[in-house]
Symmetry: C2
Subunit: 355 residues, 2 copies
């Protein structure tokens, strides 16, 4: 079956599985090693019958793939680094899910680096562990300063950003300004004019476009012939406790808002806890809207603007693959923006009668 | 300063940074390469002054570490694979955070493999991409069947489980039975006897100890001289929608429970949405308790049993390092259990007056 004079008795199958090579599989299947590599690597240009024959040979011989044999994308290491501020947060986890699925299909490995706090980021960029053999780096939703930008450039690898625009890297994200407009315009349509905003703070530089959502609030109010009141804006961390604290401050105003626009759902949920504790009803007393469509938004009936996060991760992975496969670099790095949409649930309504 | 006759003019510093080697750094610092390696790798047995001198030399020469030079733990690859069912879920993200921190400190890289649905798991184990050069594999909270167990064994690498006991691997998790007792005993102490349970289903084999929390419900009721009523048990997926669906079924009973024990907080939050929509108040009409102390528990005032998830990830990483460093294998693989504790918030109270 192999027609191979170097192994006439087909003893390749008798070697311990750890010794079976791609060449053994190719011989057994009666194809070249290059063809066997493409067949196992899900390369598109392989006849279905050939692919099947090679896979059967691989299974029969208990062949275990090694990166050099089956990796589809170019690059000498078969690894892609992903730099993540907070792996435990839904947003980053979803980006990772999409990215991993895309890269896994091309048999690339994803190496995860957490760059959460300022010291970890500093240590990371100073010591460049990502240098240890990766073909590409994906930055998840944190701004990169000049020093870090230079460090990444010194790696000589492909860099792609997901979850927002970062420096001048090819990126995929959403139109933050548009998402903000969808949220605030909804409140304006309901009749609200005194609209508070819980703005995500920038200490961790988690917001590549810190002004997009905030400028949307301002522009939407002006388009509704309403002067934006900066007393109605509080800047807090991008999480539940930040939202809770921010809502508390807004309630302390002489004239509190009748509706609140939170830059993300977790902040909105924190705001709702503050309102609950203050004995205020949502939406009867105050309307609340967020951005994301976090899984907890559905569980809490939170009205929000949905963004496709996993898809951003996938698109980032696809950009990495395109570049590794040697596509011509675009003259202007692409900044893909995926669409967002308003999701009406139960936390917004027209302004109620003042108590 | 270098005293090195092979590079008397110190021209090492003039080479492009990508060419600077560990030997260059060692020479510049006036130490052996072995010492330089230990100094850069945070090895404990290096004098502080030496460590500083070597690091200054590395910074001056813009030396970029490579795995072979600075990796502290043994193993030829410097990489550890982590198998994750759902990276976007808080629980798995927290395990990853703890694991990554521990491994990063030892300069090991974490390679992430998502093994979410049955087909991905099957494909993963069938093709063993993890074979591509890792020294250890960490399994996050999913049961491994015999075929998969054999596959992992064929890798010849260290295997550790985090988030629960898995097969016979060294593991770190919590005492699920104890956590369940803490939850149900709390409800019994408040006076509840008709206690429903939202049990996490096992389709994705996400629960290595599917019976621990359920058996706790049964045992706690018996200890309170109450016969467990299986009509009060519904098995649903481990998420918010599962909890919502399960609560709906419990409300359909002729005699609904006065309190509900959900196997995890997300299920509890889903149950609370169902109750909210049914016009029922928590805790006045029905008490609800979960397990985890998920970040959303604090935002929704959910009473729960807290488990230290990030710490489980860290301990798993420490177990990996211990084994790679050549510690003698224990006769019985360790099954570490980290403590859990009741966190009282606002969703439980004594049974109310029946409507």
């Amino acid at each position: 079956m192999t027609g191979d004079t170097t192994d006439p008795q087909g003893t390749a199958a008798l070697r311990p599985s750890s010794r079976v090579t791609l060449d053994d599989v190719a011989r057994h299947a009666g194809v070249s090693s290059a063809t066997a590599s493409r067949a196992l690597g899900d390369h598109p240009h392989v006849a279905e019958a050939t692919r099947r024959r090679v896979r059967e040979a691989a299974a029969l011989l208990d062949y275990v793939a090694s990166p050099e044999a089956t990796r589809l994308a170019g690059g000498p290491t078969g690894r892609v680094a992903v730099l993540v501020p907070h792996p435990s947060r839904w947003f980053f986890g979803e980006l990772i899910e999409g990215l991993e699925a895309e890269l896994r299909a091309a048999e690339l490995d994803l190496v995860l680096f957490r760059v959460g706090g300022p010291e970890e980021r500093h240590a990371f960029f100073a010591r460049l562990p990502a240098r240890r053999g990766v073909d590409a780096v994906v930055v998840l939703a944190f701004a990169v300063d000049e020093v870090e930008h230079a460090r990444l450039a010194s790696l000589g690898v492909v860099v792609v950003a997901a979850g927002g625009r970062v420096a001048s890297y090819p990126s995929v994200g959403i139109d933050d300004h548009r998402a903000g407009r969808q949220a605030v315009d909804h409140l304006l349509h309901l009749g609200h004019r005194r609209i508070g905003m819980l703005a995500g703070g920038d200490e961790q530089r988690l917001s590549p476009d810190p002004d997009g959502r905030a400028s949307a609030w301002r522009a939407a109010l002006r388009d509704a012939a309403t002067e934006p009141d900066d007393d109605l804006v509080v800047t807090v961390p991008w999480d539940g406790e930040g939202g809770a604290e921010g809502m508390s401050r807004l309630l302390g105003l002489r004239a509190p808002p009748t509706a609140v626009f939170a830059h993300c759902d977790e902040m909105a949920l924190g705001a709702m806890r503050t309102l609950r504790r203050a004995g205020l009803r949502v939406p009867e007393d105050i309307s609340v809207i967020g951005i994301d469509d976090h899984p907890l938004a559905a569980l809490t009936d939170l009205t929000t603007v949905a963004q496709p996060v996993r898809e951003q991760g996938r698109r980032a992975g696809a950009m990495v693959l395109d570049t590794l496969r040697g596509g011509p670099p675009p003259r202007v790095p692409p900044a893909e923006m995926l669409p967002t949409r308003l999701v009406l649930r139960g936390t917004t309504s027209p302004p109620g009668v003042p108590r």
